[in-house]
Subunit: 307 residues, 2 copies
């Protein structure tokens, strides 16, 4: 095998109470990438479609993660990368993570899978760091492992796969506004009350339990973020209206995806997910903000080979 | 049935990362109580053995929880309570919780079980509030439900039973010093860094996952408390020495039980629990502090009928 076409999925990080640690993988959106072995050594990005991204390997997220693996693997060949970018950068559903994951996953396949999923995440973190200025894995882990993941720690990297209830669907709306990562960070408090922290970790514990037991009612009671959301929702116009409508339509929870501006909901079954799509769309269609909206089953497989 | 003898177990609350929410139930220590139906209405405490506790119903934890249920149930009878107190008050392993649980569990049995476990916890919280000045359920829940419990919230009361891995043993040492509850509270920070809170809730999430999957290595990696322990361990002489020795002897984790002074460890299998007992004992036997030490399988049943 000298060439592989892969699908690298979008992901939701900062799943409500699980800020910075819990993420899940989407099915509906993702980048396609072709990775090709070459005789010439090194990593080259030879094609980019969809969005305007740098071709220089060191300046491209997919290139940087590929280089991190390449330097470690020291193979007798090189690689070409083609990127068919479908996930809009800056939308809050792991666009850079998908790029970072795609190249290392594809190369690993072509090299005969010398690396495990945690090691792939380590390489991808180098690419992700180019986009977000810090090494984190909360979008990478669900893209690589699939389903729900908990990043227990990044140093050392410790990723846990949490089971995914079978009927769980996500509805994700992307209001097309720009949120600067720096703003999303600066708005966060450095310190929080112990009381709030206790509520938050009670919810993280119960959410993990609810995912293990497919207890949808408990998922509903656990999908709360009393710490980050009050700050970051200020950056997303009509967040409260969207959330109110989604919960009323049966969403198990509604929260900011990543650092926004996308907003995700989870629901039991596709029908409710569709209702949520309708009511969320209605909120933004009354404003002058353009939006995309998608329904997705939780993708339990993660990044995959297309051909 | 007009009389029942019950065993109301000791419990460990504040299980490392799970401060204020995670607890588990012990087998080795517990109070015995006899609850007896009487023609005369009302709640009377007729016998107390073991420790010097008030006989006045309104001043006794078991009496107050019994009264709370009694007022709700409005039965055609009254109850006598005999308390054979084995758990030393103030030791940090749920002494008052055991009393509060015993009376309501026994009365519920004699009344034909009109209340479920969560309702029993609600009544018991009234008794616990007498001892600790606030309504909390983190020792009550494991005593009533058995095994590991997560108190997701107290208002409304929401208790989750987490599975218990089969080979899990606790070793608990009680250095006989007095820690005032007020001191244990006042020493806690009101605010904590968001960064530390994130680490803590990652550990809560992974601990719940580890208990579900009987992943002892992950239990070990998760049993960390970076927020409360640094403060409260100052109130327990030789805590660091005990912890170091216990971990070296194979403990999966070692932390303060409740608000201390007892220190608990968890381990896989009885043999390691015995080794831990030996090394912990050695630490305190070199000091002038008296201590009790016990090994206990995790009690998955909770409070139970003896006869």
């Amino acid at each position: 095998m000298t060439e592989i076409k892969i699908f690298s999925p979008a992901t939701v990080a900062n799943v409500a109470c699980g800020f910075d640690v819990l993420g899940f993988c989407l099915d509906s959106q993702g980048d396609e990438m072709i990775i090709r072995k070459t005789k010439e050594k090194g990593i080259k990005i030879t094609h980019i479609e969809g969005f305007d991204l740098p071709y220089e390997t060191e300046k491209n997220v997919a290139g940087v993660s590929a280089l991190a693996m390449y330097k470690n693997a020291k193979p007798d060949c090189g690689f070409e990368i083609e990127i068919y970018k479908r996930i809009k950068p800056g939308s809050g559903i792991g666009s850079s993570a998908a790029s970072a994951v795609g190249s290392v996953f594809g190369m690993n396949e072509l090299l005969g899978k010398p690396y495990n999923k945690t090691q792939l995440t380590c390489f991808a973190m180098k690419g992700e760091a180019l986009a977000s200025k810090s090494e984190h894995a909360d979008n990478l882990a669900p893209a690589i492992f699939g389903g729900f993941t908990l990043v227990k720690s990044t140093l050392p990297l410790d990723i846990i796969q949490i089971p995914t209830p079978q009927d769980l669907y996500a509805t994700i709306i992307h209001p097309q506004i720009e949120i600067k990562t720096s703003d999303a960070r600066e708005i966060l408090p450095k310190n929080i009350s112990l009381k709030d922290a206790i509520s938050q970790w009670a919810n993280v514990g119960s959410l993990v339990h609810a995912l293990h037991t497919s207890d949808y009612k408990l998922i509903h009671r656990s999908l709360q973020d009393i710490i980050i959301e009050p700050y970051r929702k200020q950056l997303i116009p009509f967040f409260d209206d969207v959330k109110f409508a989604a919960i009323k339509a049966g969403a198990l929870g509604c929260a900011i995806s990543g650092s926004g501006p996308s907003i995700f909901t989870l629901s039991k079954g596709k029908e409710i997910a569709q209702n949520i799509k309708d009511v969320m769309s209605l909120v933004y269609s009354k404003t002058n903000i353009d939006f995309d909206i998608h329904i997705s089953k939780i993708n339990t497989r993660g990044v995959k080979i297309l051909s």
